[in-house]
Amino acid sequence: MPDDDMTSLGILAHPTYTYAMSKIGTTQVERIARLARINLSPEEVAKMSVELGTIMEFVEQLQSIDVTDVEPTDQVTGLVDVWREDEVKSFGDRELLLKNAPQTKDGYIVVKRVLNG
């Protein structure tokens, strides 16, 4: 994907919406990337700092709306307490479940070692 590939969100990074100082510095970007378990190159961090800053600047408009005593919406259907029996059902096909795993052994998924050493 080309670097200048603007998107519905990326477009907000256009100079029209860019403020002099990004509100989200590179240290902050690195912190978020760590929380999201994504490695970012130094170039990606720099770019993301500007983009995130302008996007967050854009959504600042929400701060001007009076939301006193307004309940947050988690879901829109109005359904409440949709219960079902808590029962175990066998999927049946173990092979099928494992076929997309990058690496398997003896019917298990192989993961890399957890600790270095």
Binding site: D4, T7, S8, A36, N39, E60, L62, V67, V76
Partner: protein, 483 residues
């Protein structure tokens, strides 16, 4: 001989002809596959279903044996974020490039049970993030009306496929604009049902409190015909709601006389392409002339609703994409030396720029210290918007406006006119925030490019919305409708 023009006939007529032995499933599927090959360069398709002809033969046998199948012999294309057997399911992302579904989407199951045959998987913006299919990791889809332009997104492959006559209909998903926008850009019909009407089970999740399972078709009546098959409760999706008895539309459209509608003022404001505005105004005038009572409504909150969308959807996106860890399925980085690196590197190398951007925004607004200021506040604004929609639907049957502020833009052009691009989803996201339903009906052209009229109905207001859409479609077709 059936060809791509045959595939554009109303679905129920084709089903009747197959049942009567005038056409066969094999004939229709063959026409579909041939058309896909002929028009391959539009890049609407990611992968053909190698079993499509075999499936068609099986359907023909069942029909011959007297079985009554409401979609018997109908070829269709599934957006590649629907889980399907016999093909890969990539969501147009490199991270799922070789993924093979282990179960099928509920919509796919219902279509299959009705006798429809999936012939191919359609291109989309990776993970449905985008409005042009330019974010697809497998290349942009070209607009059939003008191949130098985008087809809209994220269901751009689906819309282009229907416009090209590659199949009778295509499935789509709509989280902020993704069915309606490409329908408008490609000049086909596209409808998103209310949230919860059609099961999300077996579709790659984007924003779980927003995602809706829509369809792209040649005729409004086809939408009703398909919802009649796909809608309704599913034990695998606890957010599904009760359906109406029937979504089938009458042969003759119901008159518009007595309809109470309102044009959304904010959607006709400055920033909307004058050509688009003229088409919408013309449609409204025609509807009025046909007896509809049409007012104007102002919902000032709509302008700020976009901000709520940009917080809530990335938050849900970041949660949903957390499952891509390089361990259980999907791309796994060969450069990782331990488990943590498997996560960090697989996600860096596997996700495209837009997915990363959304994950980052989402993670930020959900992180400690920012949750109340952004995420929770956006959820409250969503409540306010839902109330505005409720109030509007107390007075009006449907709301009207354009689907998009412009017709299809040039591939790669957006960076040059950022304000237009920023506005691309501005007329559509509120419908998803409110959980309402919306349809794009071809209404005319601006500079030779298709423009869709958006008809918005209340939650579970599909029947009325479809009736209005059908009447309007007929009306505009009669008028020659081009502003």
């Amino acid at each position: 001989m059936a060809n791509h023009e045959t595939l554009k006939r109303p679905i129920k007529d084709l089903v009747a002809d197959v049942k009567a032995g005038k056409l066969s499933a094999v004939e229709l599927v063959r026409a579909s596959l041939e058309r896909i090959d002929q028009t391959w360069d539009y890049n609407a398709i990611i992968e053909k279903n190698p079993q499509a002809l075999r499936d068609a033969e099986a359907i023909d046998k069942r029909i011959k044996a007297g079985e009554d199948l409401p979609l018997g012999g109908i070829p269709y294309i599934a957006k590649d974020n629907y889980l399907t057997f016999d093909t890969h399911t990539t969501a147009s992302s490199n991270i799922l490039k070789s993924y093979e579904a282990i179960y099928e989407g509920q919509v796919i199951k219902r279509l299959k049970a009705a006798g429809a045959i999936m012939v191919a998987k359609a291109n989309l913006d990776a993970f449905a993030h985008g409005s042009s299919t330019e974010n697809s990791d497998f290349g942009v889809t070209k607009n059939p009306v003008d191949p130098t332009r985008v087809p809209g997104g994220s269901s751009g492959g689906s819309a282009a496929a229907v416009a090209l006559g590659q199949a009778c209909f295509a499935t789509g998903t709509d989280t902020g604009s993704s069915v309606r926008l490409p329908a408008s850009f490609c000049g086909v019909v596209g409808m998103m049902p209310s949230y919860g009407l059609v099961s999300r089970s077996g579709v790659v999740a984007m924003g779980s409190s927003f995602d809706t399972m829509g369809v792209l078709t040649n005729h409004v009546e086809d939408v009703g015909y398909l919802f009649n098959i796909t809608a309704g409760k599913d034990p695998m999706d606890s957010t599904t709601v009760e359906r109406a008895d029937s979504y089938l539309l009458p042969e003759k459209p119901k008159p518009l006389k007595g309809l109470k509608a309102a044009v959304i003022k904010e959607y006709m404001a400055e920033g909307i392409d004058p050509g688009v505005r003229a088409v919408i105004q013309h449609s409204v005038d025609e509807m009025k002339a046909a007896g509809a009572e049409i007012h104007e409504i102002s919902i000032p909150l709509l302008e700020k609703a976009l901000g709520a969308y940009y917080i809530l959807v990335p938050a849900e996106v970041s949660s949903n994409l957390a499952r891509h860890d390089g361990v259980r399925y999907g791309y796994s980085s060969p450069n990782a030396t331990n488990l943590e690196e498997t996560y960090f590197l697989s996600r860096q190398e596997g996700f495209g720029a837009e997915a990363k951007r959304r994950i980052m925004i989402g993670t930020y607004v959900l992180s400690s210290g920012y949750y109340d200021a952004y995420y929770k506040r956006a959820q409250k604004v969503r409540t306010l918007l839902i109330n505005e929609f409720k109030k509007a639907f107390e007075k009006y049957d449907v709301l009207l406006g354009p689907v998009a502020p412009t017709p299809a833009f040039k591939i790669g052009e957006r960076a040059q006119d950022p304000v237009q691009m920023y506005l691309a989803d501005i007329c559509t996201v509120a419908v998803n925030l409110a959980g309402s339903c919306g349809i794009s009906v071809p209404a005319g052209e601006s500079d030779g490019l298709p423009v869709g009229l958006q008809i918005i109905g209340p939650q579970q207001g599909e029947v009325k919305t479809l009736e209005v859409a059908q009447a309007t479609e007929t009306l505009l077709a009669k008028q020659g409708a081009h502003a």
